[in-house]
């Protein structure tokens, strides 16, 4: 089955198998909720099929003009959300280092005080009447995306006796194949809570955790307006099929 990308190139064969050791461990007693929610049996490994290689596509017409501006997209009267203004930007690529164009990126986060606008969050910090906490965008032809938002506050959570989440923004990315689906979190350079966080520590390969820490990017910061942080995302790629149009064994 062939699947044309928006580049006009033909997408290759099966998805490259996930390197599971480069991801968090499913079971980690330091992150207590993972204990009853992690499968004990091995996963069933199989080469991907059209069910995983295809996936939903979303057009730019989905987006409203403020969807990627969390400072204003919940404001009732144009008043900006409270907090340190930041630009979060980066590219979505695949494992073959090719950009992933026209793919949906969604984010959600706490407000500047560390409080989420969610029926289940009753943390002491107040809600900001002008901050909802969700945004979305679609990558451009080069896989680029950006959000204007405020720096989220750290917040305490019930796990060990005194655990705090580092400042973070949750990110959801689709790619072009359902098997590329990924949800992760962006952390901020220099945050001392990263090394104390049992959720961050579910990633055992330090170099992989480092990839979730966005550097301050003064080249994109706008004087007298906002700081910038760069966060690139790499999704699974598909195996290149230079030889696979021939019969097996040729």
């Amino acid at each position: 089955m062939k699947d044309m990308t928006d580049n006009g190139e033909t997408d290759a064969g099966p998805l490259i198998p996930r390197q599971r050791h480069m991801h968090p461990v499913p079971y980690d007693p330091e992150y207590k909720t993972s204990v009853p929610r992690s499968p004990k049996w091995p996963l069933l490994s199989m080469e991907s099929t059209p069910s995983e290689e295809t996936g939903p596509r979303f057009g730019h017409s989905l987006l409203g003009p403020l969807d990627n501006n969390l400072i204003l997209n919940f404001s009732k009267d144009g008043s900006p959300a409270i907090g340190e203004r930041i630009l979060m930007h980066g590219r979505v690529l695949d494992e073959n280092a090719r950009p992933v164009p026209h793919t949906l990126v969604e984010i959600w986060q706490a407000n500047a005080g560390g409080r989420y606008r969610h029926v289940k969050d009753n943390y002491l910090a107040p809600l900001d009447p002008n901050f909802g906490g969700c945004g979305r965008t679609i990558t451009d032809a080069e896989g680029r995306y950006q959000f204007l938002t405020i720096r989220p506050g750290a917040y305490p959570w019930p796990n060990r006796a005194n655990d705090w989440r580092p400042m973070h923004i949750h990110i959801s990315v689709f790619g072009h194949s359902f098997g590329q689906r990924l949800i992760t979190q962006m952390y901020f350079e220099g945050d001392p809570l990263i090394d104390r966080c049992p959720i961050a520590a579910t990633i055992k390969e330090r170099s992989q955790l480092d990839r979730l820490v966005a550097p301050l990017d003064m080249a994109r910061a706008r004087p007298l307006d906002f700081l910038a942080y760069k966060f690139d995302i790499v999704l699974r790629g598909r195996r290149q099929t230079m030889f696979e149009n021939r019969l097996e064994g040729m």
């Binding site: 099929t49 059209p50 069910s51 596509r57 409203g64 494992e95 949906l104 959600w108 949750h170 579910t202």
Partner: protein
């Protein structure tokens, strides 16, 4: 030393957390109004060809407790086995749905059309199935599985055939409870743990 590879490594996953609904199903989080409507409310539009079915179930943890904070996404072809965007695909089938476990009961419901069989690269045919992706607090990387149907011929399905421990096959098969109604529970751990996929 050797040359370095040109390939990159996939960005690591992190848990979607308890507030995943804010980003993915804002109305469910009590946060309406940012978008006109939540994404993926239904995989079908009026006029979709095929049998409309409803699948109900729960995501159950190792203690037997149904998760109240799980979010799921489903992906499937139309009744003829064609995915959205492919030639001849039913324009009324987007194939994508996003849904959450109920805050009080933990139950989820998916209303869709029954998918058709899909060709396999090997030349065989995959039995009708819906791909399912599950995220929640405590799940560090999204879990993939499939919903098959007990009233379909699953005997030659390449994926089901690879499950060595045959009793586990049942964990991927939705049980028919009435005409057009199915039950499909996902057990994260423990007795009858669902077969999850690395695919």
């Amino acid at each position: 030393m050797v040359q370095s590879l040109d390939t990159m490594i996939e960005t690591p996953s992190q848990t979607a957390g308890p507030y995943v609904h804010i980003g993915c199903i804002p109305s469910f989080a009590g946060l309406p109004g940012v978008y006109p409507e939540d994404l993926g409310l239904s995989p079908i539009a009026p006029g979709a060809k095929g049998q409309v079915i409803t699948i109900t179930g729960a995501v159950i943890d190792g203690t037997g407790w149904a998760l109240r904070d799980a979010m799921m996404e489903s992906w499937q072809p139309d009744a003829a086995g064609r995915f959205a965007g492919q030639d001849g695909a039913d324009p009324a089938v987007s194939g994508f749905c996003r849904f959450a476990a109920d805050k009080d009961s933990g139950l989820f419901t998916l209303t869709t059309v029954k998918p058709g069989p899909v060709p396999h690269r090997s030349g065989g045919v995959q039995a009708p199935h819906i791909s399912l992706w599950i995220v929640a607090r405590g799940i560090n990387i999204g879990l993939s599985t499939r919903i098959y149907f007990e009233d379909e011929d699953n005997s030659a399905d390449p994926l089901l055939s690879r499950i060595e421990q045959r009793p586990r096959v049942d964990t991927l098969i939705a049980k028919k409870t009435a005409e057009g109604q199915y039950r499909f529970d996902i057990r994260l751990q423990g007795d009858n743990e669902t077969v999850f996929l690395d695919i």
